[in-house]
Structure formats: structure tokens, C-alpha cells
């Protein structure tokens, strides 16, 4: 089983949509996939036509000391979504502290999932260090857009040698082209060697509560995501 996480460099770069589309694409490629929502916004399920913010979820269950794994939804055979659950701000701060206290919590859970899934994808939140640090991932990707804010925000992250994935790339924009050129030049090792293009279909997919690959299989973004999934397969099989 391969654990992978996506996390935005800042909010609103399209992390959840990408994660949902990637999970769907991996599933299309014959993988058994579990998507785990690590964000208190609890909105990942929306991409799979689940209710907005279901009450039940792994965070709720952990706080209530219930079995956490009972709240996953099976979207299709081999494609499951585990929501966060409804949690008050005070509660998720407490949970974050708990996660910091027990850094092995999700590792143990991942070990338990190993037989059932080929891939577990985590949608990580911006803040809440306990949430972000707890899952131990083989592939940890930071999502960013080609804009000045992301360029600034990624600088402090470079020390950790993360992987960066450019989302919503629009080659018509001189600024975006130049930024990507700079990144390709400076951070060759860190940059995922393909960019996801800006495509209206991505936004429409969420409006239809579907992952992009299912809503518009012929679109450029679906094509890009399939390429990303193939890259993940190659990367995941590679001994670290």
C-alpha cells in the first residue's frame, strides 16, 4: 500500500478537487483507493456526491472513542472515501493536540488498511500541524498555482525537499510561463514533471459533485490527471 498526501501551499489552489480526481483516476487504472479527508471543513465527500459535511467521520469517531473505520463510504467497488465528520473548532484543536501526542496513530491505522487498499490519499489541511504531520506518506505533494504568492510561500518549504505540483496552469499567461520556467530551472528535483492545466471542466465537476475524470473524461484536465496518476504509479513502485 502506498500512502500519498496532497496539501496546498496556500488555500484555494485546488487541492481537494485534484485529490478527488487523482483518486478516481488511480481507481480507473485498476487500483484500490481510499481517500481520507484530513480537513475540518469536511468537504471531500462533496466530490463524490456525498452529503456536505456528514456528521459521522474518522475525527468524530476518534474524539468519541468509537471505531473510526466504520464511517468510510464506498463510492464504487475499490474506491472509498473517509470523511472527517462534524467537529467543533475547540474539538479539532484538541484532536490536533492528540495527534501530536500520538504521532504513530495514523501509521497504525495505515498498517491496518494495507491489505484492503493499494493507495491511501490524504487531503491535508493548511494549518493544524498534528493533522498534517500524522499520516506518514511515501509521496507527499504540495499543490501550488503559478502565481507570485505561491512563489513566496514555497520558499520556506524548500528545506524539506517536498514535491511541488503546479495546478491550474495557463500557458497563455506570461507570468505563469515565466514562473514555471524559473521553478523548472531552480527546483528541477522538486517539481512534479507535469503540470495540471486550467480547465473549466474542473470547476464544473465539483458543481456536479463528481470527480473531473468522471464528469468530463475527454477534457484536458482529465487527461492531465491520468498522466499524474501514471506518474504516481511509477513513483510509488520505485523503491524509496
Amino acid at each position: 500500500m502506498i500512502a500519498m498526501s496532497l496539501r496546498g501551499v496556500r488555500g484555494g489552489v485546488g487541492t481537494s478537487s485534484t485529490l478527488a480526481a487523482l483518486g478516481y483516476a488511480l481507481h480507473e487504472l485498476g487500483q484500490k483507493v481510499l481517500l481520507v479527508d484530513m480537513c475540518p471543513e469536511n468537504s471531500l465527500g462533496l466530490h463524490f456526491n456525498l452529503n456536505l459535511a456528514p456528521r459521522e467521520g474518522w475525527a468524530r469517531a476518534t474524539l468519541d472513542q468509537q471505531p473510526w473505520h466504520e464511517h468510510a463510504w464506498s463510492v464504487e467497488p475499490g474506491l472509498c472515501v473517509l470523511p472527517y465528520g462534524q467537529v467543533q473548532p475547540a474539538e479539532y484543536t484538541r484532536l490536533d493536540a492528540l495527534l501530536l501526542e500520538q504521532p504513530q496513530l495514523w501509521s497504525q491505522r495505515q498498517a491496518a488498511l494495507a491489505d484492503a487498499f493499494d493507495w491511501v490519499l490524504f487531503d491535508l489541511p493548511q494549518r493544524l500541524p498534528g493533522h498534517a504531520a500524522n499520516p506518514h506518506c511515501d509521496i507527499a505533494v504540495m499543490v501550488l498555482n503559478a502565481d507570485a504568492a505561491c512563489h513566496v510561500l514555497l520558499q520556506p518549504l524548500l528545506a524539506k525537499k517536498p514535491l511541488f505540483l503546479v495546478n491550474r496552469f495557463d500557458a497563455a499567461s506570461q507570468l505563469q510561463r515565466d514562473l514555471v520556467l524559473i521553478w523548472q530551472h531552480r527546483y528541477t528535483q522538486s517539481l512534479v514533471p507535469l503540470s495540471l492545466h486550467a480547465d473549466e471542466a474542473m470547476g464544473e465537476a465539483l458543481a456536479r459533485s463528481e470527480p473531473a475524470g468522471r464528469y468530463a473524461p475527454g477534457s484536458l484536465i482529465a487527461h492531465d490527471i491520468i498522466s499524474l496518476a501514471s506518474w504516481c504509479l511509477l513513483r510509488g513502485r520505485r523503491p524509496a
Binding site: 496552469f169 495557463d170 500557458a171 497563455a172 510561463r177 520556467l181 523548472q184 514533471p193 503540470s195 492545466h197 486550467a198 480547465d199 473549466e200 471542466a201 468530463a216 475527454g218 477534457s219 484536458l220 484536465i221 487527461h223
Partner: protein, 863 residues
């Protein structure tokens, strides 16, 4: 029922046959039903396939000739092996007959196959012994080795001289040529270059023997007419023999040079001046070249682009300023292109000078691939790359061979230059090349004395001890000449220029050249003298048929025994050496088309080299409709009329001449028919196919994507491009009205570019975009993503078919027939009216010829 057994009324009513025809056909059918048991299953199976097996009789009105057609076709079907015929009940007989035939063939074929297979594996099987032998040879003491060399050489020369000069009778000559031919056929199967050298040796022996025989025993010294005609032919043959031999030397060992690595530090890279000379070409043609030059991968501060405008046109000046390149014009235009380049040399100071004609778009990798050699070899003066054409030349367009046969230039740029490079004799071709500034200064600039300044400049460089290199990697593409007359005009200029150099600065004389350089240059120049000899070959048999001159004073059988091996060996060897670059017999067509036109200027230049002027080759034009270039074809029409006249004389001689001449007449007729068909192929080229596009589309397969105005994007494949638009193939159909703005996303390396165009056509999965209004920087990017890609022209030969001499001969002959048919199509109405009865007769005769049956359909052969 009666209509089935005796279909008289049906034939009368449905096919409107005459009474006699209908009666005869019906009678035959009735007899068939009575005597042949046509209702039996075997006949039924055959009848079900009738129209497949007799395709020319399907959907045809029954006529009285049909029984004969059936008989001819049936015999054909019995003799010729066709796929799936075995299913039709005749299996057993076929098998029995086939078994006999193959048993007889096996007696010869099995040992032959064994032998030729063992030859094929010989190099691999022999290699340990060979390496042992060469080791033994190299450890031998030098004096011993020298003695052995001399002994072996003397023996070989003696044997060769014996083979060439020994006079043989019929039988001895027959045995000799068959032995050599068998040897050649065996050697041909072996891979590698040494077998090629062996083939060359065999071919040289046979050809020398032929020429020796011609000189010693085929001239009739007793008759003036015979002697004059015979000598003319002999001189022409000697010329061909010389060209053949020089060609063998020139291309025996192509170098296949690889690019040299550049140093990693770009500070060490030299400064390059890129010159784009232009005189009267259109700005639209020049733009693409400038854009491509701007996209070359080279440090920006080390690449200077200069537009050398000899036409002094303000529009060019404005354009140069717009894109930020240097504009150089001069007040006069003395010495044409060479003068233009020399003028520019006074204003620039880079280390290297790259030269691109204004219609040759360089690929971005041009400098990176070529400059390395200048750094590695300080005496290198020149690196030349091939001239590749993205549009069809007149031959390719009019004969429909674009992208599936090597074109006329392919032989030169694919093989000859590579062969020259082996002898350090690769020469400058005026464009797509890069020269060292100090070298060009040392010979006083580009040569201005002749109309082919390029070859002359290279000759001077070589004379002064500089070396040259040839990289056989297409790194630029340009437009081919657009009409046959322009093409011929260009070749006339080359021919005249090369002969001028031959006279004024003969490579055989003067200092500074190696023997092989002299051979390569001489061959390149002599090659253009082909006009007169070719005309001699095209008219030679007429000397006998019309004037009754014995041009080859020997028995016809003996002539065949000598001339056929000479031709067969030359074809076999050349097919092996040149097959990938020029298919057998195509050279004949190219030469024939040019022969008349270069004959006069080269002869004039040979005697008075200072005459003649520079003419610029027109390119990038259009041809509104199909037309026949009567002006160009005129000499060939005269030649073909002469040959037809010769055929008439042949018939007359056949019936009235002496009996012992019949075979000679027949051989002459064969020669005349061959000439007629070759001339026909030349005539076919003159039928110009229309060319309506302003811009030429280059076929490709590149990934890309489109983006619509509403923000939706879709992946696509770029299937063709030109400088004004692209053709795309989508994975799902888009319903978009023509005129919609659509953006195309293309990649170059790992960078992406977006070009906004307009939808011009949309059909199912295909989409056409036009980019009429791209801003200049976008145009540069577009050229870089398409024409300027480093790999853009690498696979241009992927569609070429392998050379098969016999197949190639058939094609050329078929082309000849097609030429005459095209001629008929373009004739004025009154002439066509006169020709029609003859054509009818031919068509009627042709309708009796057997055809290949159509491929079986599953329905009819499903038993």
C-alpha cells in the same frame, strides 16, 4: 428456364447486343450447360466468383470478343498464382502441376538457397579467422608485408587485365558473364561494406571488359557513316563509364559523421553571424526563416542575425527593425549572392558565419550540432548540412511520389556528400551551412567568378589546406521549386556554374588537392555534362533504324552478351549503394528531363566559360490549375516522334530487310521502346499538377491541446502544420461554428506556448485552425514549436519504400505509358480527335489483357 439456358432475349433486351452477338453468346452458354454440367458444385462455386475472377468483364456489355477475353483470363488465372484460388475446386490439379514445377525448381533452388544463406552468414562465421588473420598480418615484418602486398597487387591486376582484355567466343563469354553474375548475386546477400566493395570490383571488371570490347572489336572502319555514328555513341558510353567509375570511388565508403560535443561552458562557444541573403523573394517566405533563426538555441549575446537584402526593399527593412535583427543592404548588386555575402562580411566580425537562404528555416539545434566540429578541428573551414524540402518538387508533385520515394536531391545529400566527406571533399551548397570566418577571409571572400559561388568557394578552401565536414542530419527545411521550368532553370544554373569552374579552375590541375578530392570534384562537375550523352542514348538506335548505320559493328547476340551484364552489374551495385537514396532507373528519368536543357549551356560554358549570368530560383508560388508545360516538353515530344518514326522503320525493315538482320532489328526495337517509355516518363513530369495552397502543410504527429473561449480545454494531436495554420485531430468531436476563436497549446521541450487562432474547418474529429494575426513574438514561438523543432525533419525518409530494381523498372515503364496518356489528355481538341481512333484501338486491344482478380470477399468465398 429457357432464359437461363439460352439467354438470347435477355442479352438483346438488357444489354442491347446485336442479333449475332446475342446468338453466339447464348449458343456458347447453351453448349456449356449441355456438355460441361454447369450445375455441378464445382462450377457453381466458380460461377459465384465470376466477377471477382473476371473483374474486367463485370458490368460490361457483352460483346463478341468476350469469349476470347474469358479464355485469356482463364489461362492467366491458371498460370499466375493468386491468393485463395485454391478454394475453387481446382485445388488438386493445381497442386499436381505445382508439385512438378516446384520439383524442377527445387533442383536449382535448394542448392542456391543453401549457398546464398551460407554467404549471408559468412561474415559472422568467418570473423574469428579474419581477426586471427589480420592479427597475423599486422605482426608480420614490414618488408615481408610489402613484398606480399606487391605480389598480391600484381597478381590481382594481372588477373583483372586478363578478365578485361581476353576475347571470348559466344559460349565462353556466356559462361564468364553467368559466373560473374552468380557471384554478384551471392555477394549481394552478405551484409556489410566489404561485399559492396566486391560488387564494385565485379561491376568495374564487367564494365571495363565491355568498353574494351567496344573499342577493339565493334567499330566499322570501312564505312564512314558507321564509324562516325559508332564513335559518337562510343564517346557517350565512355563518358557514362567514367562517371560510373568516379561515382564508385566517390561513394564507396560514406563517412556518416556524428556531431561533436560542445564544451559545457558557454563562454567558450564562438560568436556566430547568421546571414540570410535575399534578392527578390517575397517577405512572407523570408519571415519564417527569420523567426526560426531567432529561435536557435545559442547564447543570445553570441548570435547575430543579419538580413542581407539585395533588393533594397523598405518592407524588409521595417520587418528587420520590428523583430530586432540587423538589416544590410548595398547600393549595387554586383556578383549577385556571392557579392551580397562578401559585402556583409565587411560589416560583421563573428568567429563563424552561418548562411541560410531566405526560404530555409533552420531547426533550433542547428548551431549546437554543427559548431562542435569547429572547436575540435582548428583547420575545419566548413560544415554543411542537407537541404531538406518540405514541399514537393515538380517531379514529386507531378508524379505523385512525395514522401514515398527518395527525391532528386536525396542521392546527393544522402550519399554523395557523405562519400565526399570521407575524402575531405564535402562541398559547400550555398545554404544550411556554417563557415569559419578566418578561412573565408584567407581565400579573399566567397568566389565571385562563376554562377555557382558555393562549390567554387569550397574548392578554394580545399586548395588552401582547409578541411570540410558534412553532417547528414536535416537541420533546416525549405521550399522546393514550384514549377518544372523553374526547376530546370535552377539546374541549368548549377550545370553552367560547375562547368565554368571545370574550365577556369580545373580540380584536376593546380595545387593543394589530394587525388581523391580531385576525383570527387571532377565527378561533381563532369556529372553535369550528362546532357549530350543522354541525348545520344535516346537517339542511338535510330541511327541503325533510320540511316542503317551499324553503330555497334557486332552480332546482336554478342552485343547482348556484353551490354546486359554491364547494365545488370551496374544496377545491382548501385541499387545496393544508393538504393535508400535513389531507386534504380529513377536517375534515368531525372537525367532525361534535364538532358536537352543542360546540353547547350554546358557545352557553351565548356568552350567559353565567361558567358552566362546568375538567375535566381523562384520559389513558393502557386499553380492555379492543372496544365501541361508544352514549352518544356517540346524537345521530348520531338524525340518521341523520332523514336516512333524509328519504330515504323523497324516494321519496314522487319518485312523487307535481309533475314540475318531480324535479330538486330528486334534488339533495336527493344531499345527504342525503352527510350520511348523513358521519354514518356519525362513527358509525364511536364503535366503540372495544380498547387493551390499558399503555404505548404507539413505532416506530423505531435501532442497538443486546444482551449476554447469558455475555458474548456481538450487534448488533441497536431496532424499537420504550415506557417499559416494547423490541422488537429481530437479524441471527441466538437460542434463549433467556423470562425470560433480556438487556442492551441503546444509544447517545446518542457515549455508550453499558446496560440490563438480561428476555426476554419471542423469535420468530425478533425479541426483546422488558421493563425492569421499572431503577434511577432508568438510567430517566433510558433515556428519554434513546429518547423524549428530539432527532430522536425529526422524521419522524412520513413515513408520510403525499399529499392527493388525490377519493381522500379516496371514503375518507370508504367510511368512512361502514363506520360503519353497525360499528353493525350492535354492535347488540343482537334489533335485529340485525330488521336482518338488510335487510342480506341489500343484500349480495345488492352481490354483483352488479363487482370489480377480482386481480393475475395468473405461472402463469396465462405465455403
Amino acid at each position: 428456364m429457357i432464359s437461363r439456358w439460352f439467354p438470347y432475349t435477355r442479352l438483346r433486351r438488357e444489354q442491347n447486343c446485336t442479333r449475332f452477338t446475342a446468338f453466339t453468346m447464348a449458343l456458347i452458354q447453351a453448349l456449356g450447360w449441355v456438355f460441361l454440367r454447369l450445375e455441378s458444385p464445382n462450377w457453381k462455386a466458380l460461377r459465384a466468383q465470376q466477377w471477382r475472377l473476371y473483374p474486367h468483364l463485370a458490368n460490361k456489355r457483352s460483346t463478341i470478343g468476350d469469349p476470347l477475353r474469358y479464355i485469356v483470363q482463364t489461362l492467366w488465372l491458371l498460370v499466375v498464382r493468386t491468393p485463395n484460388l485454391d478454394q475453387i475446386g481446382r485445388k488438386r490439379t493445381r497442386r499436381r502441376v505445382g508439385a512438378y514445377v516446384s520439383a524442377v525448381l527445387n533442383i536449382v533452388q535448394r542448392p542456391w538457397n543453401l549457398l546464398s544463406n551460407s554467404f549471408e552468414h559468412l561474415p559472422a562465421a568467418l570473423s574469428p579467422q579474419v581477426s586471427k588473420g589480420s592479427h597475423w598480418w599486422s605482426t608480420m615484418r614490414w618488408p615481408t608485408r610489402k613484398v606480399l602486398y606487391i605480389a598480391l597487387g600484381t597478381l590481382a591486376v594481372a588477373l583483372i587485365v586478363l578478365c578485361i582484355t581476353e576475347p571470348f567466343g559466344y559460349l565462353a563469354q556466356l559462361v564468364f558473364v553467368i559466373l560473374l553474375w552468380v557471384l554478384a548475386m551471392l555477394v549481394r546477400r552478405m551484409p556489410g561494406r566489404f561485399p559492396t566493395l566486391l560488387l564494385i570490383v565485379l561491376s568495374i571488371i564487367v564494365s571495363c571488359r565491355y568498353l574494351w570490347w567496344r573499342y577493339t572489336s565493334t567499330l566499322n572502319w570501312n564505312d564512314n557513316l558507321d564509324l562516325v555514328c559508332g564513335l559518337i555513341l562510343l564517346i557517350a558510353e565512355t563518358y557514362s563509364w567514367l562517371i560510373l567509375l568516379l561515382g564508385y570511388v566517390q561513394t564507396s565508403w560514406p563517412l556518416n559523421r556524428q556531431p561533436a560535443q560542445l564544451p559545457p561552458d558557454t563562454d567558450e562557444w564562438p560568436v556566430v553571424d547568421l546571414l540570410i541573403p535575399t534578392y527578390n523573394e517575397e517577405l512572407s517566405v523570408t519571415r519564417g526563416t527569420v523567426y526560426a533563426a531567432l529561435g536557435l538555441d545559442w547564447p543570445k549575446d553570441k548570435l547575430r542575425i543579419h538580413l542581407l537584402d539585395d533588393g533594397n526593399r523598405p518592407s524588409f527593412k521595417t520587418f528587420a527593425e520590428e523583430v530586432g535583427i540587423n538589416y544590410i543592404a548595398r547600393t549595387d548588386n554586383r556578383h549577385a549572392k556571392a557579392g551580397n555575402l562578401n559585402h556583409a562580411l565587411t560589416l560583421i566580425d563573428g568567429d563563424l558565419v552561418a548562411i541560410f537562404d531566405c526560404d530555409h528555416m533552420p531547426a533550433r539545434s542547428f548551431l549546437q550540432l554543427t559548431v562542435g566540429w569547429f572547436l575540435r578541428d582548428p583547420s575545419l573551414a566548413l560544415v554543411q548540412t542537407p537541404h531538406h524540402f518540405l514541399s514537393p518538387d515538380p517531379f514529386e508533385r507531378n508524379l505523385g511520389t512525395f514522401r514515398n520515394r527518395p527525391n532528386e536531391g536525396e542521392l546527393f545529400y544522402g550519399l554523395i556528400q557523405d562519400g565526399n566527406d570521407m575524402w575531405n571533399a564535402a562541398f559547400f551548397c550555398g545554404s544550411c551551412a556554417i563557415v569559419r570566418r578566418t578561412a573565408i577571409d584567407s581565400i579573399g571572400g566567397f568566389a565571385v567568378e562563376t554562377v555557382t559561388e558555393d562549390a567554387h568557394t569550397a574548392l578554394r578552401l580545399h586548395r588552401n589546406g582547409w578541411t570540410s565536414a558534412y553532417l547528414r542530419i536535416p537541420q533546416a527545411a525549405g521550399l522546393a521549386t514550384e514549377s518544372l521550368s523553374a526547376h530546370i532553370g535552377q539546374r541549368i544554373r548549377w550545370a553552367r556554374g560547375m562547368v565554368q569552374i571545370f574550365r577556369t579552375d580545373n580540380p584536376l590541375l593546380g595545387k593543394g588537392l589530394t587525388i581523391f578530392q580531385r576525383i570527387c570534384y571532377t565527378n561533381a562537375m563532369m556529372h553535369f555534362l550528362v546532357g549530350l550523352p543522354r541525348l545520344v542514348f535516346l537517339t542511338a538506335p535510330l541511327a541503325f533504324l533510320l540511316l542503317h548505320a551499324y553503330i555497334i559493328y557486332a552480332p546482336a547476340v554478342m552485343i547482348l552478351l556484353y551490354v546486359l551484364p554491364h547494365m545488370i552489374h551496374a544496377s545491382l551495385t548501385n541499387s545496393r549503394m544508393q538504393g535508400a537514396y535513389r531507386q534504380t532507373f529513377w536517375g534515368e528519368v531525372y537525367e532525361t528531363v534535364l538532358a536537352w536543357y543542360i546540353a547547350r549551356p554546358t557545352t557553351v560554358a565548356l568552350f567559353s566559360p565567361s558567358r552566362g549570368k546568375f538567375n535566381v530560383t523562384a520559389k513558393g508560388g502557386m499553380m492555379e490549375e492543372n496544365q501541361f508545360d508544352w514549352q518544356t516538353a517540346k524537345p521530348y515530344l520531338v524525340l518521341s516522334l523520332l523514336n516512333v518514326l524509328g519504330l515504323g522503320f523497324a516494321v519496314w525493315r522487319l518485312f523487307t530487310g535481309p533475314k540475318d538482320e531480324i535479330f538486330t532489328v528486334l534488339v533495336s526495337v527493344l531499345w527504342v521502346v525503352y527510350n520511348l517509355l523513358i521519354i514518356g516518363a519525362a513527358v509525364a513530369v511536364a503535366a503540372e499538377v495544380r498547387q493551390v495552397r499558399h503555404t505548404h502543410r507539413v505532416l506530423t504527429r505531435l501532442p497538443g491541446a486546444i482551449r476554447l473561449a469558455d475555458g474548456h480545454s481538450y487534448p488533441c494531436e497536431l496532424v499537420d502544420y504550415s506557417d499559416g495554420g494547423v490541422g488537429l485531430q481530437l479524441s471527441q468531436p466538437q460542434q463549433l461554428p467556423v470562425g470560433t476563436p480556438v487556442s492551441l497549446i503546444l509544447q517545446r521541450g518542457n515549455r508550453e506556448f499558446v496560440f490563438t487562432g480561428m476555426l476554419t474547418r471542423s469535420h468530425d474529429l478533425f479541426m483546422g485552425l488558421s493563425f492569421a494575426q499572431l503577434p511577432p513574438e508568438q510567430k517566433i514561438a510558433f515556428v519554434q514549436c513546429t518547423f524549428g523543432r530539432a527532430d522536425a525533419w529526422l524521419d522524412h525518409n520513413s515513408g520510403f519504400e525499399a529499392d527493388k530494381p525490377i519493381q522500379s523498372l516496371k514503375e518507370i515503364l508504367a510511368l512512361g505509358v502514363k506520360g503519353y496518356y497525360r499528353l493525350y489528355e492535354y492535347m488540343p481538341a482537334w489533335l485529340r480527335l485525330m488521336a482518338r481512333p488510335f487510342l480506341r484501338v489500343f484500349q480495345w486491344l488492352g481490354s483483352f489483357l488479363p487482370r489480377m482478380p480482386k481480393a475475395p470477399t468473405p461472402l463469396s468465398s465462405g465455403q
